[in-house]
Symmetry: C2
Subunit: 236 residues, 2 copies
């Protein structure tokens, strides 16, 4: 936790004082091993970053005087479409993607996505947010990504995707694509990454119909956890 | 498992027939759900890739007629120096790095590496190999990376590193570096990635003395699992 993310409830009515318990308190006690008077990096969810000076610290409560003086890092101008991975992998990928600065993530169905994944408790709002917050705390960011759950491939791609991808460079990662994934594009993009085993030809065809270019990153098949940061880091 | 990696013991004296049990048999039964007559991608450890046709398959044994006709993918010309991460993270990073095609990995001590990590059973030869093999099976590669364990930072950097890094571009990832990590270098490189919290200034200085250039990939602090594929993918 390189930044402690603060939410409206933490402020108790005073915009320069926060009171924390639970996970963040425990982290400050056991990982930061901080004391009264120490300063920690803090950020207001969706807003600016600053410093919290500890005014009270016990086993049950952490209080800080906070001030905010700078903006969070720039977001990546990327919408990520991700075939829903298995829940354990999803948690790690969301954390990673949130840390990388992606602000819109679509979790998408695909032929090779196991149906049971859509029933996972990881997909509840609180559980998703937990991973996204962890990514922001890692990367010193404050702006929570938006997550869209789209359990029906065809209507999403036909009806909603054209609007989401409008005005962006659109790529679908595909191991047998002819074109290399471009580097350092400096432009808004929409990137689709398939499930283990890849999108099926029908799905690739649907993306192509929507203006997506299939791209590959070499002749190695990477798992989702490795492919996601590898491709995003190549694009930006 | 996109490729079944075969070792000398699997061959039972005949270079075109293998007999497998255990983990690989279970995978073929439960994930591939294959039958007699099906063909699977196979590779001989350290050698070529080909096809295995299933000649016998039961709950206890898998036999295949194998032939080899092509080379594994090109390795990355990269030596990765990695401050030893915590064991659970190490396993995932090794798998990822092996899939990416890195062939020499140095697990290195650093001031912020917890001493207990060096006692982890994950560091035994068999356990390391298990993760590396999983990475090769994912990426359809056959060449096992070499792993060097170096629990003493100073003697490694002063005495051994000059030889390892000779003739390569040498970079140390450092969030506050002035220079951006280069893209698509197409050359042999040595890359050092620090622990959570980063290398300390003394360590960065030691790398600089050995000709390393500190580089950064933006103002976000990434965890090791995200940073490793992100930086490697930017370099190559």
């Amino acid at each position: 936790m390189n930044l402690i993310l603060l939410f409206p409830d933490d402020f108790n009515g005073d915009k320069n004082h926060v009171r924390l318990q639970g996970r963040r308190l425990q982290h400050v006690l056991t990982v930061h091993r901080a004391s009264v008077g120490d300063s920690l990096c803090v950020g207001k969810a969706g807003e600016s970053i600053g410093t919290g000076t500890i005014t009270r610290l016990s086993e049950t409560v952490l209080e800080m005087a906070v001030q905010f003086d700078r903006q969070p890092p720039l977001p990546l101008p990327l919408t990520l479409l991700l075939a829903l991975p298995r829940p354990k992998v999803l948690k790690r990928v969301l954390r990673s993607v949130s840390a990388l600065g992606v602000k819109r993530i679509v979790l998408l169905n695909s032929f090779r996505v196991e149906k049971s994944y859509w029933q996972s408790p990881v997909l509840c709002r609180e559980s998703l947010q937990e991973e996204l917050v962890a990514g922001l705390e890692q990367a010193k960011d404050t702006v929570l990504p938006e997550i869209l759950l789209r359990p029906f491939f065809k209507p999403f791609v036909e009806d909603e995707l054209p609007g989401l991808a409008a005005g962006t460079l659109a790529f679908v990662a595909h191991p047998t694509a002819v074109r290399d994934c471009p580097r350092g594009i400096q432009k808004a993009a929409t990137l689709a990454i398939g499930p283990e085993g890849g999108f099926i030809p029908y799905e690739i065809e649907k993306f192509i119909q929507q203006g997506f270019t299939p791209v590959q990153t070499g002749n190695r098949i990477l798992n989702v956890e490795t492919a996601v940061p590898a491709i995003i880091s190549r694009l930006y």
